[in-house]
C-alpha cells in the first residue's frame, strides 16, 4: 500500500501546471511589452529570463520533493 509513487506523480504534474502557467503569463506580458516599445526589448528579455529562472526554481523545489518521495 505504497502511495509514495502516486503522490510523486501527482505532485510533479501539479507543479508543472503551476510553473508553466506562471512562465506563460510572464512570457506573454514580455512579448506585449516588447511589441509596444521595441527599443527596450533587450532589458525586457533580461528581466524575463531572470523571472523565469526564479519561477522555475520554485517548481524545481517541488520536483526535488517528488523525487525524494519516489526514491524512498
Amino acid at each position: 500500500m505504497d502511495y509514495a509513487y502516486l503522490a510523486a506523480g501527482f505532485g510533479a504534474a501539479l507543479t508543472v501546471i503551476g510553473g508553466a502557467f506562471g512562465i506563460g503569463k510572464l512570457a506573454s506580458s514580455a512579448m506585449e511589452a516588447s511589441g509596444r516599445q521595441p527599443e527596450s526589448a533587450g532589458d525586457i528579455r533580461t528581466s524575463m529570463i531572470i523571472a523565469a529562472a526564479l519561477i522555475e526554481g520554485i517548481s524545481l523545489f517541488a520536483l526535488v520533493i517528488c523525487i525524494l518521495l519516489a526514491l524512498k
Binding site: D2, Y5, L6, A53, L60, F61, L63
Partner: protein, 282 residues
C-alpha cells in the same frame, strides 16, 4: 470494488512496474549520483581512494575530482588572461571571450545591483560566476559528471554567498546596525515581532533557495536526458531510436542554455543580496 480497492490495485501495479524497471533504470541514478570510482564504460574503472580523517569520511569522489578539474581549467585560462592583460589592454583570442564575460558580470550584474563600492565584491562574484559556468559546462562532456548537481556543492556555494553577504553588510553598517536595518522603518510597533521573525527567516531562506535552485536545475536536466535515452532500452525497439535521440538532443541544447542561465542567476541573486545588505535603504 470500492474506489480504495482500485487505488490499491493501481498502486500495486505501479509498484511492480517500477520494481521491474529498476533493473532497467538503476543506471540513471548511477549516472546522476556521486560515486567512489571514475567510470569509463568500455575501458575500465578507476577506484578513487578512501580517506577517513578524524572520524569524518573525506574520501575522494567523482564530483570532487570534477570540482578540481574545473578549478584547474579555470585557473589556467583566467591566470593566462590576467597575465596577457599586463602586456596589452587589448585581449586577443580566448582572452577576448573572457573579457566579454568579465565586463558583463561587472556592468550588468555587479554595478546595477550593488551600486557604490561594488569593486570589493567583484572578485567573489566573478569567481562564483566562472566556477559555476565551468562546472556546469563540464557536466555536458562525455564521461564526466556535473559537480554542481551535488547538493553538497551547491549548499557550500550558497553558504559562502551567505557569509559574504552578512560580513559585507556588517562591515558596512556595523554588527548591530545591520540587524536593525533589516526591519523597515515606519512600521507600527505591534507589527515588530512578526517583522523580526519574517526578516530573520528571509535571511536564511534566500541562500537555501540559491542552493536548491542550482542543484535542481542541473540534476533535472541530466535526469531528463538519461530518461529519454533510456526509453530506447526500456521499449527495446529500433523505431524509438530517432525520436528518442532527437528529443534528447533538444534537451541537451536546452541544458547548455540552462547552464549559462543558472550561473547568471546565481551570481545575479548573490549580488542582489549583497547589494540589499550593504545599502539597506528600505
Amino acid at each position: 470494488m470500492t474506489p480504495l480497492d482500485t487505488l490499491h490495485t493501481a498502486a500495486d501495479s505501479l509498484k511492480t512496474v517500477v520494481a521491474s524497471k529498476t533493473q532497467d533504470t538503476g543506471w540513471i541514478m548511477h549516472h546522476i549520483l556521486d560515486s567512489r570510482e571514475l567510470d569509463f564504460p568500455p575501458f575500465g574503472v578507476i577506484h578513487l581512494p578512501e580517506i577517513h580523517l578524524f572520524g569524518m569520511d573525506l574520501s575522494i569522489t567523482k564530483h570532487l575530482v570534477f570540482i578540481w578539474l574545473a578549478v584547474i581549467v579555470l585557473s589556467f585560462f583566467l591566470i593566462r588572461a590576467a597575465k596577457a592583460y599586463k602586456k596589452s589592454r587589448v585581449p586577443k583570442g580566448f582572452n577576448n571571450v573572457l573579457e566579454v564575460l568579465i565586463v558583463f558580470v561587472r556592468d550588468e550584474i555587479a554595478r546595477p545591483t550593488i551600486g557604490k563600492g561594488f569593486e570589493r565584491f567583484l572578485p567573489y562574484l566573478l569567481t562564483v560566476f566562472f566556477f559555476i559556468l565551468t562546472a556546469n559546462f563540464m557536466g555536458l562532456l562525455p564521461y564526466s559528471s556535473t559537480s554542481t548537481s551535488n547538493i553538497s556543492v551547491t549548499v557550500a556555494l550558497a553558504l559562502i554567498s551567505f557569509v559574504v553577504t552578512q560580513v559585507g553588510g556588517m562591515m558596512k553598517n556595523g554588527a548591530f546596525g545591520y540587524f536593525r536595518g533589516l526591519i523597515p522603518h515606519g512600521i507600527p510597533a505591534w507589527l515588530l515581532p512578526i517583522m523580526i521573525v519574517v526578516e530573520l527567516l528571509g535571511l536564511f531562506t534566500k541562500p537555501f533557495a540559491l542552493a536548491v535552485r542550482l542543484f535542481a536545475n542541473m540534476t533535472a536536466g541530466h535526469i531528463v536526458i538519461m530518461a529519454l535515452l533510456g526509453l530506447i532500452f526500456i521499449l527495446r525497439t529500433y523505431f524509438v531510436v530517432p525520436v528518442s535521440i532527437s528529443f534528447a538532443l533538444f534537451i541537451y541544447l536546452l541544458e547548455i542554455l540552462v547552464a549559462l542561465i543558472q550561473a547568471y542567476i546565481f551570481t545575479m541573486l548573490s549580488s542582489l543580496f549583497i547589494g540589499m545588505a550593504v545599502h539597506q535603504e528600505h
